[in-house]
Symmetry: C2
Subunit: 652 residues, 2 copies
């Protein structure tokens, strides 16, 4: 569907949105502030706007009288944009208006990554696992060939050759042939390299079951686990589910996990814990997509090197010890059930390869997902996560590095942090004059916490509105009563207890801000060091690819504000959402892409930041909003902050 235009008055801001977008989301995206404290649930009734031309869907409630409705007044949070419209935001004063106008950007962004549609278009929709229905004449005394020979003949007739049978397939074959009255369906695992490997018949079923061929793609993150149910027949993603990685209770980052793995029984426990978390997600996914896990024929898994080795039960300690050596780049296809996954015995697990101890399958899969390894443009790939990874390069060369950002981006180590599930504040905008926030939560529920993207938007807004300074310290003289000193020191009240799901106020402390500062600092210094290492600078970048579970919902302009992302034109940024998830999905969907993984691994050179002298300097410089060298690196950001301050100073 083509996008529609929303014009926000009195700010003269226009932006393009997908039809069906909620007006409040569109406004926050555009940097247009509308008071809204209930997260978009439609109960606070503060987000009143006037639709001056065109019409929206919904937006009415008992909070809006008939005559108001007749005047075009609607609630922004429950109004869906379906056509070109002009809306007016009521403002208390002209000065307030000036301040708010200074905030507005009108920037809009959209995600893009290869999907099954593109693969089909390119003729590369060729799943590792295919189903083939065949039939045969029943045996006679003159033709008493064994059941396998009969099947091979039928496959040959279908133009299929070079097979190896998994034992289970042979075991099930006699009954499959006869129950299906000499019609059966073979599930075939295609090798990546057809020259040195053969097709594997991993399963036989009576009759024709080709309509149903399912795979699960798993992203095993340090903090969260995600999984998608994929229909390999259509290439369609039937649904996805996620949850925390229960290993968190044994340490928040990979280092502490590796340390724990060194304790007696530690590795085994971490292995079982990872399996348990994945199984919980798979079960939730199965019920959500109405699938029985016994129907799943294939699983793909991508994670960072440590997560991969912990899941497979491979001793991880040498990842942590100089010179940081992982066990392997590639793992053979393994039987999913052998690692305790709640999948049938015949289901294979394809594990994504790693490049280095701190550059794992998550990065490679992300790089593959955006085709960075085949693109002439110079790209910076950033995987935001507890373990941040960055890649710089193009079709000819790639260098990568890793930085431990800590769990802040995924809500970890933040007082009211949570992952991006229902009720998590994912976008925020603060009125610089009043300090009142506009909130949007995941699922438009009453707020119950803050997820990564919400955290970034919040800190950016606090910075832009001068509620915090460049060091992340609160201005306790601020007019808003939301700025106060709580039990953990200075804090900002994002949602009063009455406006949220908890029995207390949801706040952001300076400690939370420090955590985010360190996280963004680690990321920024990582790619700065990497760029310097190859003699390049931010300006040379043709595009920046943003991956990471929460990347999708980040507002780039706000991420630049805090110095997490480099100051570049917004249109140079691309989102790929969860890189691991993307890669795991694509590997299930496309054997050609699976083959390319090898090229990527071979092409990529790892850069050990811990031995790069400039890293610590870059890091120190980054422990500031947006950066100690903002004049050089964030000139426009500084200018925006100045403008807003100026406008606010006039209002007060």
């Amino acid at each position: 569907m083509s996008r529609v235009t929303v014009r926000f008055e009195p700010y003269e801001i226009e932006m393009q949105v997908e039809p069906g977008t909620f007006l409040l989301d569109a406004a926050l995206e555009a940097g247009v502030h509308i008071n809204a404290s209930c997260g978009g649930k439609g109960v606070c009734g503060k987000c009143r706007v006037i639709v001056e031309s065109g019409a929206v869907e919904g937006g009415l409630s008992e909070k809006i009288s008939e005559e108001d409705a007749a005047k075009g007044i609607r609630q922004a949070c429950t109004s869906k944009v379906t056509e070109d419209i002009v809306v007016r935001i009521p403002t208390e004063s002209a000065l307030d208006k000036a301040a708010l106008k200074a905030l507005a950007t009108g920037s809009s962004q959209q995600a893009q990554a290869i999907g099954s549609k593109e693969l089909k278009a390119e003729g590369r929709f060729d799943p590792a696992l295919t189903k083939l229905a065949v039939s045969a004449e029943p045996p006679t005394l003159d033709d008493a060939r064994n059941d396998v020979a009969r099947l091979l003949a039928s496959l040959k007739k279908a133009g299929e050759r070079h097979f190896v049978f998994d034992f289970e397939a042979i075991r099930d074959l006699p009954e499959a042939w006869r129950q299906g009255n000499w019609n059966l369906t073979t599930t075939i695992m295609r090798p990546v390299d057809t020259k040195t490997s053969r097709n594997h018949v991993i399963r036989v079923e009576p009759g024709d079951t080709t309509a149903r061929n399912l795979a699960v793609a798993i992203d095993l993150g340090t903090t969260t686990v995600w999984a998608e149910m994929i229909d390999l027949t259509t290439g369609q993603v039937l649904g996805s589910e996620g949850n925390f990685n229960a290993q968190i209770s044994y340490g928040e980052d990979v280092i502490s996990r590796i340390v724990y793995a060194g304790k007696p029984g530690g590795l085994k426990r971490l292995q079982e814990t990872a399996t348990g978390s994945i199984n919980d997600v798979l079960k939730a996914l199965a019920s959500k997509t109405k699938v029985d896990l016994s129907e799943v024929n294939l699983a793909t898994l991508a994670g960072n090197t440590t997560m991969t080795q912990l899941f497979l039960g491979v001793e991880p300690k040498y990842i942590r010890l100089d010179p940081y050596v992982p066990a392997a780049a590639y793992y053979p296809p393994v039987r999913a059930s052998r690692f305790g996954l709640a999948l049938p015995d015949h289901a294979s697990l394809l594990v994504f390869p790693s490049v280095a101890s701190y550059v794992g399958g998550d990065v490679i899969s992300g790089v593959m997902g955006v085709g960075m390894h085949k693109d002439p443009r110079l790209s910076l790939f950033i995987d935001l996560g507890t373990n941040g990874e960055v890649v710089v390069g193009n079709q000819d060369w790639m260098v990568c590095a890793a930085a431990s950002a800590g769990p802040a981006f995924e809500g970890g180590g933040i007082k009211f942090g949570m992952r991006a599930s229902k009720g998590a504040v994912e976008n925020v905008m603060i009125n610089p004059a009043t300090g009142e926030p506009a909130l949007v939560t995941v699922g438009k529920a009453l707020p119950k916490g803050i997820c990564g993207s919400g955290l970034i938007a919040l800190v950016a807004s606090l910075l832009l509105t001068g509620i915090i300074d460049e060091r992340g310290r609160y201005d306790l003289d601020h007019v808003s009563d939301r700025v106060r000193v709580g039990e953990d020191g200075p804090e900002y009240v994002l949602a009063w207890s009455k406006d949220n799901q908890l029995d207390r106020d949801i706040t952001l402390t300076e400690m939370d801000i420090d955590n985010l500062m360190r996280a963004k600092g680690a990321m920024y210094s990582a790619y700065m060091t990497l760029l310097e290492g190859v003699g390049l600078s931010i300006g040379d970048l043709d595009r920046v690819i943003l991956a990471g579970g929460f990347g999708q919902s980040i507002n780039i302009e706000r991420a630049i504000l805090i110095g997490l992302l480099p100051e570049l034109p917004v249109d140079r940024f691309t989102f790929v959402g969860n890189g691991s998830m993307l890669g795991a999905r694509l590997v299930a969907l496309s054997n050609p892409l699976r083959a390319e993984v090898g090229d990527i691994v071979d092409k990529m050179t790892n850069f050990e930041l811990s031995v790069a002298p400039s890293y610590m300097d870059n890091y120190t410089g980054s422990l500031f909003f947006p950066h100690t060298e903002a004049k050089r690196l964030f000139p426009e950001t500084l200018e925006r902050m100045r403008k807003v301050k100026e406008a606010v100073s006039q209002t007060s």
Copy 2:
């Protein structure tokens, strides 16, 4: 060592024997009768002989006075032949002498089958599993390649390429490298087809363990299970062990096993029972050869089609139902531990392929073992066992067929039957004048039962001496008190209670004889029918290859007497002992031979006896000693029987 000559007087019989052969064994082999009732233990003192020239080793006891000893008198059962000798057998009378002379044949035979020596000579000693010790430089920050990459580089330096790593090998690699201080040993599984398959690294161990590379070869028979411990480094067989297949309690032949497998939980129980029997044998084998089973890297298994499917838990019922279709000819290498074998996880199990429902791995392995598929001579291959199998052919073609002989050959269904273990009577000769037997037991112990070869020798002797007639009925008027009517009807006392390990007499009943009659009849009619089917006859055969667990110890001349083997010159017979065992062993020792298995399977055509009209006629004709058409098929045998009868008639 070159053989030595033994001349038996007064019969003017000479024969060649291996140095170290016991004189009693040599005599019985030559058909020379010497009284001996204790099975060769040396306690009955009856087997006195006079060494007239040359000397023997041992043969003295308190039963032989000094002056007797001085005269050269020795006990045959404890005398070892070490040089050319002339011995005189004391005889009661000249007539007795005539009768005994009529018995004597002087025939001798020797086994021959490919062993590691021949393989080495042919340059085909190339085990499926090899060990390779490699070393590497420790990693540094400049060379932080992963552990697998480092190993691949070392292997490449050693001239090795194209590897796939089993997951376990990767899992164990980090510790193996470091515990071995960057020296380790890889256990490599070679593919049969190096074009379409790669080498598998199935195990890594710290340091250099190449000196020890063990495999077990398993023969899973319907009645008995045998296993050998093989040193793949030297090709030496360290030892072998055997026992009954505990599945016997669920049916003596394959048909009744298949029927049992059809009952609820039946297949599972049979699978577990087979595994249990194999494990018992493996454990006995391990302690016998002082090996820890965890050191075993490879297992090979050969059995008939039904045994194979039962062991693997593959539904066997279609083997039994017209048109008798097995599940598969080939099985992929499987993980031995998956089927409950007491072997380490990394150990692969190579399962021998089958040709048809009743022509399985046991036959193919035997055929391969004697190289019948590469020999221009027309050969008849006979695998004697509960399920007898026969193959006729040469390098250009092969036809095979199966016949259910029942367990008689392995001591099953015989009142005092037992397998060829210590105390089993394995050879017998009866004095036609007195009816007194000369016994040799396995391990020269007091008798405790009769094994297959002993049974054949006994019945042959009873026939030759006229104690039973051509229908297998006892001559109750015989002078010997050993012929009597027992609780099960007429019987012959082979060993009195006082001369055996039991608390009662060891006898052979007419029922026992009938069982043997049916068994030999099934075999004879099988190969007769097969030969007729391809327009050939016994006379066309260049050689007869005899396989089967007990084949080794069969006396050919006596087997011909009862009509189990065709009447041909003794020198046309070749023994290969246990065919399955041989094949299982060779597959472990030689990948080239493993590759040939496919050729054999493809070359062999199965002949369904159940639909061959002439089979029943042949069978009926065979239910007679030696055969109803003895004049045509066993002329010389008839002549011998006549001669002995005549001699005996003169004595009485």
